[in-house]
Symmetry: C2
Subunit: 331 residues, 2 copies
């Protein structure tokens, strides 16, 4: 087993202060590994980085078209959003279209990280709802599929037809039998895979033919939706949103909890997956930036990049105190 | 150079999800290394974990007694507090006693992490002040010393008499010439040292004689103040506060940014210092708990411990999804 390698570092006063190690893989459209750092076979939980895989059955089943889902809704089904008004509005409308409400969600209540919405709730002395949960879009997708299947309301249970369909799609597209699952923050099963398997699945999305078979069409539509509606996939100020905008809608990327990041590069027909072993989000954001710059799809001098890679660190008085940068030898 | 070793791990669904590596040292009263994990000579920035070292000149100079500082104020001078009302009240009174105000601080404005105070500011549409900065207590101490010395107002500059006194005390107590400094979040210089040097300084505090020389008396008073007033050193819900309470005031501990943690064990006349290399706070909290349990001063089954070590992870619906625990072989 190969050890994880240094990917991102915090420097202060000209000295190394902190360092993040990780595993990363770039796959081509055949699922072959083009490049790897650390251990490509390291088993990880993709967490929210695999939301586009979890959304495949929604499209493949015909449920999305039967419900008349828009491109925005498809992007939202792949989102880890911050509970801003645009997100909660979409979730509420979607639930209403299904004849359902907040109580039908099974993601749990999460306080919004969107500042405006957080402050509004505090001022109004209102509690957060399940629609604020960062996964509420994915759960609206699960509910749409469950209704279409005529399946029961406990759609996050492992043996529910929705999750069984997700598992089948996940294993087929990663090209691996999942070695097991954990329960995610939103109560849905999260299937483990290798970093290479996750990168392979992203390469499949990258090369998916929009006029191909059911799965190809589903993957191509989801990629297009994410890249076209970055504000729905995360939110203002967030890495996914800002970096997808910086790449002009040509690349879809997605973060996952515990420092996972993936990228779908349709023009290059490549997929990327990485995991920072310590779970530190700043490390994953810097590392995905470094790989996207290396692939020639992200401008290293774009403000969205410089917020995360070669990022000047300032203190409470705005003084420059350090830099967060790529580790030497990585990417 | 010895590599850092696994110290804390997140497990989900029976599989390892994330892992934190670090360096740790336990020193005895002579400054000898009793036990070490990783590289004792690894150079780190102690960040806020060395606030009791930064407070030594305040006492040794006679400034603290001349200003009639209380035990509570000495604890507050060593604090990384969360800007709760008890903290901002103390900072404002202290500044007023000096004939100064918020604008004389040089720590910068930081939003309080204390929820009640944060919500109060949002409801009142008030901005945060410098007294909310987690370091405002330390800066009140710096100002007290600067006044006593008759020195100028820019007390965070490296060549200011306050910082020169801090540097001298820091190097003497760590037993090392600092290889350099960085600028901290609060604009004060932060002197680098080895993990062993930081542990040695904590052992000096642990063994300090309350009836000894000026430095011994100062160190003993600061340790006693921190252990006696844990609510002023951090705040409700925070690791330093909860764990010091759990140890019944017999041990003083202090966190620092980027995952540093130190402990002063007076009864055992030992000092501990550790750094998680990725800067992840949860890793440092679990690791210091593990070492304090190992030293026999912290109950492994105390709720304050179980929040951080062998800590059950729950999702947004309160379901158990994993555990955060000590890495096998550590401590």
């Amino acid at each position: 087993m190969t050890e994880p390698v240094p990917m991102a570092e915090l420097w202060r006063g000209g000295m190394l202060e902190s360092r993040h190690l990780g595993h990363a893989v770039i796959c081509d459209e055949k699922g072959a590994i083009i490049d790897a750092w650390g251990d490509p076979q390291a088993v990880i939980f993709p967490r929210s980085s695999c939301k586009m895989l979890q959304a495949l059955p929604l499209l493949e089943s015909g449920a999305a078209d039967a419900a008349g889902l828009s491109e925005a809704q498809l992007a939202f089904a792949c989102a880890s959003h911050q509970g801003a008004a645009i997100h909660t509005d979409m979730a509420r409308r979607w639930l209403a279209d299904l004849g359902l409400g907040d109580a039908d969600l099974r993601c749990g209540v999460q306080e919004p990280s969107d500042r405006a919405e957080r402050d509004r709730l505090i001022r109004a002395e209102e509690g957060a709802c399940q629609v604020h949960n960062n996964c509420s879009g994915k759960h609206c997708g699960f509910l749409t599929l469950a209704q279409h299947m005529g399946a029961g309301p406990e759609y996050v249970e492992l043996d529910h037809p929705v999750q069984q369909a997700v598992k089948a799609a996940f294993e087929e597209v990663t090209g691996e039998q999942s070695p097991g699952h954990g329960i995610d923050g939103c109560s849905a099963p999260n299937f483990a895979t290798s970093v290479a398997g996750l990168a392979r699945s992203m390469a499949f999305f990258a090369a998916a033919n929009p006029d191909g078979d059911t799965r190809n069409r589903a993957a191509a539509r989801l990629t297009r939706a994410m890249a076209a509606r970055p504000e729905l996939v995360a939110g203002e100020g967030r890495a996914c949103t800002e970096l997808m905008r910086a790449m002009g809608g040509k690349v879809a990327i997605k973060t996952g909890a515990e420092a996972v990041f993936v990228a779908i590069l349709p023009e290059k027909r490549r997929g990327i997956a990485l995991k920072i072993v310590d779970g530190g989000t700043r490390g994953a954001e810097a590392a995905i930036c470094a790989l996207l710059v290396r692939e020639g799809v992200l401008d290293p001098n774009h403000p969205a990049t410089l917020k995360r890679l070669d990022a000047v660190q300032r203190n409470w008085r705005g003084r420059e105190v350090g830099i967060f940068r790529k580790a030497e030898g990585f990417a």
